[in-house]
Symmetry: C2
Subunit: 316 residues, 2 copies
Amino acid sequence: MPLAIGVDIGGTKVLAGVVDDEGVILARDRAPTPRADAAATEAVIARLVASLRETFPGAVGVGVGAAAWLGPDRSTVLFSPHLAWRNVRIREALAAVLPLPVCVENDANAAAWGEFRFGGGRGLDSICCLTIGTGLGGGLVLDGRLYRGAGGMAGEPGHMTLVPGGRLCACGKSGCWEMYASGRALARDAQQLATESPAAAAAMLARAGSIADLDGPVVTAAAADGDPAAQAICAAMGRWLGRGMANVAALVDPAVFLVGGGVSAAGEMLLAPAREELDAEMPGRLYRPAPLVRQATLGADAGLIGAADLARVEFS
Amino acid sequence: MPLAIGVDIGGTKVLAGVVDDEGVILARDRAPTPRADAAATEAVIARLVASLRETFPGAVGVGVGAAAWLGPDRSTVLFSPHLAWRNVRIREALAAVLPLPVCVENDANAAAWGEFRFGGGRGLDSICCLTIGTGLGGGLVLDGRLYRGAGGMAGEPGHMTLVPGGRLCACGKSGCWEMYASGRALARDAQQLATESPAAAAAMLARAGSIADLDGPVVTAAAADGDPAAQAICAAMGRWLGRGMANVAALVDPAVFLVGGGVSAAGEMLLAPAREELDAEMPGRLYRPAPLVRQATLGADAGLIGAADLARVEFS
């Protein structure tokens, strides 16, 4: 049974684990991400891998999922909004500090691969994973293969324009899908409501303490507790989610949309309106089944599990 | 040298040809499409194939590209806006009247495959073809494979929503990309200009004869002759084209957009503004090369050539 080590490097923490060929994590470890320092990040990865190998020396390789844009060769980080790497030959740098062969993948792609192999996409050929945290990320597995795009940059649905001339996005464009379907969008809507009508937002405000602390997790938690204002905000976001899904479906026609990330904790409060909107807005809806809309099943481990499996496939 | 016969069934005509393994058409024939009658359409195909086989008896199979939505098995027509087939087991029906093995493909997919193998996409791995005629069709070849989608319906970019709440589309939605980038869009803009300001539209009106006859080909021809009003209409459409391309690029990141169909005769008048808008609207444009934007090279033969090649690959 070939084992592999998966590493998921996010903006705040590095997760690492030993994963078997059924996607089960046999051991895990974690550390904070040294954000400002690329060499320190590589050292953290090396330390985590070394520690896991003490118990599982037989792992065949290391798969690293990173919140970064990689070139099509999967060896060079072109850009990362949250990590210290810039135009770094990351695969070489990691190979120099690791005792095992290493492959690198975009974290959302790794998560999509994990869901495809062992999660909500198991048994389906073509899936679109949408990861809703602070922003909206994504990954595509098409006809059973991880699809990376000609330049390595496929699967950035969050920056498809949903509303021309709409809300300004940090990416420099306006009206990006991410500005309407993300933790940041939930927070903005809740803060706006609290500013305009503190009474209507009282339950969320009580939970957050202040308008400035009213973030996505506060909204989803208040909605889960039955706060109608928070539920309305989640439902509105669900409809935006479904609108963007309809655009993806027109182009890529996946069997399923798997929704993961912190905001997906809202579950059906989010997914039911998304499904409705997708059904209404999908091209040719009278003549075809709509793609399914489901919650992703691997949670925060999807990236780690997927990265490990990519390494297992490549090196065993 | 294995030869195959390609057939391209459009709303008005059926094209057929014998194609070699370098995409060269060795013989060709054509007939009007019997629109109201599925059996008659099948008989026309059989007649064209029989006639071509008299000269080239060695063809290994027939590939049929049809303006229709096919199920994922490529055997059943689910719907076609222009042809007589409805829920027809088309592959079986054609197999019954043809003396050679037959495969069926959506016409835009077949055209994309033709461009990928022998046209503007040769040598590239992932391409997006956009066919601009009356409407806006498309096809995707991703990582060297024709991508059809989980339900067989991938590559309908014309019905991605570009402008929420925008112009009503025949599909029942509003704001579809096709309503802003198609021959129909050119005609509508030109007719509107001619209605509001006959003087500004004088050159186009003189060419068309009447406002009602002011169609896409009139606009592109007038633009090619230097009419500033027609050129402005083409440029505006080019910008809409580029906006939609940016959405496709965010998701699929193709190496190239190949623009074909009748409206693509406008060439750089259309493609230059599309390229500019794509460059401006593409996510992460500072950190990645933009996909290329080029005219497709096989013209009206792309579907026929691609369908033949799909048959050659499947049956030889």
